[in-house]
């Protein structure tokens, strides 16, 4: 009963996220975990059976993905990153002592202090999605670096797309 409620809620949520995303996707998404693998969390398997352990952070194809990318000036979580958020939420549920920092980042365009705000919005978007899937707020800290932690410095669409991101950083496994 409890599990089925959760499944219903999760599918409602993904519909809501899909509906909330208006923009067409331009940037290229990193490869996704193929659905249907034994560790894929979006099935209605009882959580206890497939519970994550710390080693999965290094081996599980979904958990190894720690970066979520965003569109220009947007903080809406794009549907292709839903699976990443879902498996990390499950990890947080499975391991209540684990902690993550959600590090929000922006591209170089626009003012630095405004971009601190934008980075925080993106971190909050990932945090809300994780909380909606049962990752507790107490396990997550949102930190915005704005445009200060760029991974590249070219003034190009490709580089900007790589900098508009939230990094999921485990501070306790």
């Amino acid at each position: 009963m409890k599990t089925s409620t959760r499944v219903v809620m999760m599918s409602l949520l993904s519909v809501a996220v899909l509906a909330g995303c208006k923009k067409t996707v331009k940037e290229e998404a990193p490869p996704m975990a193929s659905p249907g693998t034994s560790t894929a969390p979006m099935t209605d398997m009882p959580t206890t059976a497939g519970a994550y352990g710390p080693n999965d952070l290094d081996t599980d194809a979904c958990l190894r993905q720690r970066v979520v990318y965003f569109d220009l000036d947007q903080d809406a979580l794009k549907p292709e990153y839903q699976a990443i958020v879902t498996c990390h939420s499950k990890y947080l549920r499975d391991r209540p002592t684990s902690r993550v920092n959600l590090e929000g980042n922006a591209d170089e365009r626009g003012s630095r202090e405004y971009n601190l705000g934008l980075g925080e919005r993106r971190g909050n978007a990932v945090s809300s999605a994780m909380q909606a899937q049962g990752g507790s707020a107490g396990q997550q800290s949102v930190i915005s670096y704005g445009e200060e932690r760029a991974v590249c410095t070219d003034s190009s669409e490709d580089c900007w797309a790589r900098n508009r991101r939230v990094e999921i950083v485990y501070t306790a496994k």
């Binding site: 630095r112 202090e113 601190l116 925080e120 915005s144 200060e148 991974v151 410095t153």
Partner: protein, 439 residues
């Protein structure tokens, strides 16, 4: 032929120390455009007439560069200076009239009685054949650039009736490396980019330097504690104070004109809002309360109003609110992205980073004549962080060239731009200091 090669060698030898010192300074100067309306002025070389070692600073050259980059003057190149008078009695006015100069500065450097140097200089109105100024300044050899900037200030004020702002400083942030190799520094230099000094170094990001009104302290944002925190640091002693380190963003510190309050951005409520902190009691007053991003507060000169950036209307625009709170009013209606306001000393001009598509330029909204008039100060394309000189004659800003950030100083009429380039790495977020001596 032999003489020529000797001369060439001599020239190269003379040039070497100049090149070496330019490298040490790390900052170079570039005049981008000219101004036909600028006033012609000749600053004659001021020779050392003492008995010891000559001072290391070419005082006349520093004055020339200051006046030139203000945009208000066009200085006569040293090579075109036909006669070299050092005092008023040696001035032949017809020579300077023939060279079409409106103003003439002459002087000399002598030994000061207690050690150091004494610069004696005079300013002349060529058409009227009148002396406008006759002053002397004394300094140790390491302060001769300070003396030259103060002389340029006196000349600027005597001719234009506006206080000069050459003897001021700039603060800025530098970054070298990326990712784990990134190193950040908060720097302070003279307004022409010389004498750079490191105030803070960090492996974590530093941003948003803001001067205290006495010019002795800087507030800034540091990520050294993991999250953003606001610090105040004494430039001379290095002593520093952690001002805020709340959950969420601690950003955009800006000292009030009386130095008793700090406007800043905190997102401890879950959303970035403007606050004012009383620096005596550390009590916080929340100024804005809206779901948009509110940030980059800056004070009106009378300390009664805060200007800030907000995207409450969709895109970032400049708003104004009473420094004690209340409902904000939108200020900018031109351009679909306006951010990082800087206000002139008289409160009549607001410079912003104005964006359109991928192009960001520095623009000024001038309300001197009532309804606002806009002008553009920079060519784009990723220009940001404007900061007015204390006399509003120039605006400092950051631009990107290739993969690095550089600083520019542009005259308020946009006609003269000077580039201050750090030799390596990325330079950004310039903040122009207040005057170094109050009046």
């Amino acid at each position: 032929m032999k003489i020529l090669s000797h001369r060439l060698l001599l020239f190269v030898l003379l040039l070497l120390p100049a090149l070496a010192s330019a490298q040490q300074q790390g900052l170079e100067i570039d005049i981008i455009g000219g101004n036909a309306a600028a006033l012609p002025i000749a600053v004659v070389p001021m020779p050392y007439q003492g008995s010891g070692a000559a001072p290391p600073t070419d005082v006349a050259a520093v004055i020339r560069a200051d006046l030139e980059r203000s945009g208000a003057f066009r200085t006569l190149a040293e090579a075109s200076i036909a006669e070299r008078p050092v005092r008023g009695s040696e001035v032949q006015y017809p020579t300077w009239r023939a060279l079409r100069q409106d103003y003439l500065v002459v002087g000399r450097v002598v030994d000061a009685p207690g050690g150091g140097f004494r610069v004696e200089y005079e300013l002349f109105d060529v058409a009227k054949q009148e002396r406008m100024l006759g002053l002397a300044m004394t300094a140790r050899s390491n302060a001769m650039r300070d003396v030259a900037h103060q002389m340029a200030d006196a000349i600027y004020e005597k001719i234009l009736g506006v206080r000069g702002a050459f003897w001021t400083r700039i603060a800025y942030i530098t970054q070298t490396g990326l990712g784990a190799n990134a190193r950040y520094a908060l720097m302070v230099a003279d307004s022409d980019g010389f004498n750079p000094q490191t105030v803070v170094r960090s492996a974590e990001p530093l941003l948003s330097p803001s001067w205290s009104p006495d010019g002795r302290r800087l507030a800034y944002v540091s990520f050294e504690r993991g999250n953003s925190s606001i610090y105040i640091q004494d430039i001379a002693t290095g002593a520093r104070e952690l001002l805020t380190s709340f959950r969420g963003i601690n950003g955009a510190p800006n000292f009030s004109p009386d130095g008793r309050r700090m406007a800043l951005t905190l997102s401890r409520s879950g959303n970035p809002e403007i606050y004012v902190m009383d620096l005596g009691s550390k009590a916080l007053t929340q100024i804005t309360n809206q779901f948009g991003i509110d940030t980059e507060p800056t004070w009106s000169p009378d300390g009664n109003t805060l200007y800030f950036t907000s995207d409450r209307g969709g895109r970032p625009q400049i708003y104004r609110v009473s420094a004690s709170g209340g409902s904000p009013t939108r200020v900018t209606f031109q351009g679909n992205y306006n951010a990082t306001p800087t206000v002139s000393f008289d409160g009549k001009k607001i410079a912003v980073a104005q964006g359109s598509g991928n192009n960001y330029r520095i623009a000024v909204m001038d309300s001197s004549l009532g309804s606002p008039r806009w002008s553009t100060l920079s060519p784009g394309s990723l220009d940001e962080s404007p900061s007015f000189a204390p006399n509003a004659s120039m605006v400092l800003y950051a631009a990107r060239e290739g993969r690095r950030g550089v600083l520019y100083a542009v005259s308020a009429d946009a006609r003269v731009r000077q580039r201050l380039v750090l030799a390596e790495g990325d330079v950004r977020e310039p903040a122009w200091s207040p005057y170094r001596t109050p009046r």
